[in-house]
Structure formats: structure tokens, C-alpha cells
Symmetry: C2
Subunit: 152 residues, 2 copies
DNA sequence: TTGACATAGTTTGCACTGCCAACCAAACTC
DNA sequence: GAGTTTGGTTGGCAGTGCAAACTATGTCAA
């Protein structure tokens, strides 16, 4: 098999570091990791509750509370779909967008010190490699995500 | 400064993918991300409650419940320190160690498909670059973490 | 030695996260 | 139009995590 697992272990270690940064910055703004993701997702989407839940890998009942609290804070809003009167779609408010952008900047700034010690060409290389890994994960997730529907 | 933020964004994206894998595998074994970390940490340490909390960046009161539940499941145990009768140190049980190792293998296996599409030399390169980033993060965290602990 | 203060953990109370099962309402199906 | 599926909410439950209050032990100084 894959001889040694150094790469997998390094991915896990690094991910925990990154999540620690995200958690800290999120909590500075009273946002959980999940809410951070929601805000990020809504920046360029206007999904329905169920779609949002699928994106996040959460149960739809979890979304109700998540959106409800974010709505109470004025970060997102719910709209009724004209096509399907059952459906509720979720979108980000101007305040939510502003917060999402501020948080993104803070995250970038907080991560920069860790990546700055790399040379410019290494930075570019790392970006490419991570994108490659991430893309593989996405493709795989899409495969599984589809399965979660009606059948196998 | 750093011109574009592609690297920081790639780190965040990849980290979310990795955490999704960890979350899924953890939940297969009824373990939260935090419990996964606890078990991992205890594999080669026998810290006190407060040290453990500092490692994880959590409040000590949070540790009480976390350890209590893991102890109830027989994964960890508490021991009284002979030097300081206030102190409680935490260690992993054989069952806990076995579970931790099984989970680690599953995580490696689950991540392998994503990294396998890289060529061997790219894998090695990525490992080196991630370790470099991770090490920088550790140094930085150590600086902050140490302040709460006894000393440097 | 005693009194003041610091440290290690626990307890209590609170809000949030996330799941499941049950439910309602609107769509689709035959 | 009865039966089923789909979209979302509700209620109940366990776990996570924080903050404040508390107990017990340790430390330091007068």
C-alpha cells in the first residue's frame, strides 16, 4: 500500500491547526465553524434549506436552528420560493456579507504568518498541490452525496 | 501584502475536506472531533486535566465532562498524582489505544484516495511543505500556549 | 504557625450543535 | 382524489463549550 502515511498525517495535523485559527476568529465574532461555512457558502449561492443541509452534510432539522439563529442576528434571511410553495430559500444579507468578508480577511491575515516562511515558488507549488487534493475530495464527495438520495 | 490569498484559501478548503472525513469516521465510532484529538494526544502523553485543556485550547471545566464521558466508555482513565494531591492525570486505556489506532488507520485509508492521484515526488513535496506550515503554526501556538502554562 | 493568595478540578447553569422521529403542508402519481 | 413523496419545522435528547462559583490542596510570607 501507500508505504508510509506521512502525507495523510501531515494533512490531518495541518487541518487541525487551520481549524483552530478558524475557530478562534469565528468565536471573536460569535460564529461557530458551521456558521462560518454557511456564510461562506451563501456568498455566491441562494440555496434552499435542504440544499444547504446537503452542502454541509447536516440534517435538515439542524439547518432550521442554524438559519433561525443567523436570521435573528440579521446575517441571513429566508425567502419563499415562487415555484414551490413548500420551499424556503436562504440568502445572505448585506450585514452578513460584510461580516463574512471581514472574517475572511482576518483568516487570511492569521494564516499568512505560517505560510510566509515559504519561498514564493513553494507557496505556488503548495497551492497547486492542495487544490489538487481538494478537487479529488470534492469529486469523491459529490459521488457520495448523490448516493445519499433515494437509492444507492 | 502577499499579493493574492490563493494559498490561504486552499488551506482552508482542504482543511474543511479533511475535517469532514475525520468527523464522519469519528461518528462511526461515536467519537467527536475533540474526543478524537484527546485520544490522539493521550497515545504518547499522560497529562493533567489542565495540561490537556491547554493542549486542546479548551476550558478546564470542559475537560471534566469530556474525560468523564470517555472514562465511562473505558477509553481513558483518571489517576491521582502522588506529588500533588489536587492534580488528576489522564491516561489512555488499552481499549482506548486500540480504538485510536483503528481510527487512525481508517483516516489514513479514507484520505489515501485523495492523495493517491499525486505522483510520488509530489506527495513527498506536499508532505514537506505541510510540515513546514504546521511547524510554523506550532511554534506560534506554543508561544501563546506556554503563557498559560507554568513557563517556557 | 497562621493567614492570604494561587492553583487543580468539579459543579451548575446556559446557549449552541446535531441527530432522530413525528409532524404539517404542498407537490406529484396513478 | 387517495396515496405517496418532498420540503421544512417541532420536540426531545445527548454532547460540546463557556463562565462563575465552589472545594481542596499547595505556597508564601509575616
Amino acid at each position: 500500500m501507500g508505504s508510509d502515511d506521512a502525507l495523510e498525517d501531515a494533512l490531518v495535523r495541518t487541518s487541525f491547526r487551520v481549524m483552530a485559527v478558524l475557530t478562534r476568529i469565528g468565536s471573536d465574532h460569535d460564529l461557530s465553524l458551521t456558521q462560518l461555512r454557511v456564510l461562506g457558502l451563501l456568498r455566491d449561492r441562494r440555496p434552499r434549506m435542504t440544499e444547504l443541509a446537503a452542502f454541509l452534510g447536516l440534517d435538515k432539522s439542524t439547518m432550521t436552528g442554524l438559519v433561525e439563529r443567523a436570521e435573528r442576528r440579521g446575517l441571513v434571511a429566508r425567502g419563499k420560493s415562487p415555484e414551490d410553495r413548500r420551499a424556503v430559500d436562504v440568502f445572505i444579507t448585506p450585514a452578513g456579507r460584510e461580516l463574512a468578508e471581514r472574517v475572511q480577511e482576518e483568516v487570511r491575515a492569521a494564516l499568512a504568518p505560517f505560510t510566509d516562511r515559504l519561498r514564493a515558488d513553494d507557496r505556488q507549488l503548495l497551492t497547486r498541490l492542495l487544490d489538487s487534493v481538494s478537487a479529488a475530495a470534492t469529486a469523491n464527495q459529490a459521488t457520495r452525496g448523490t448516493l445519499s438520495g433515494p437509492t444507492g
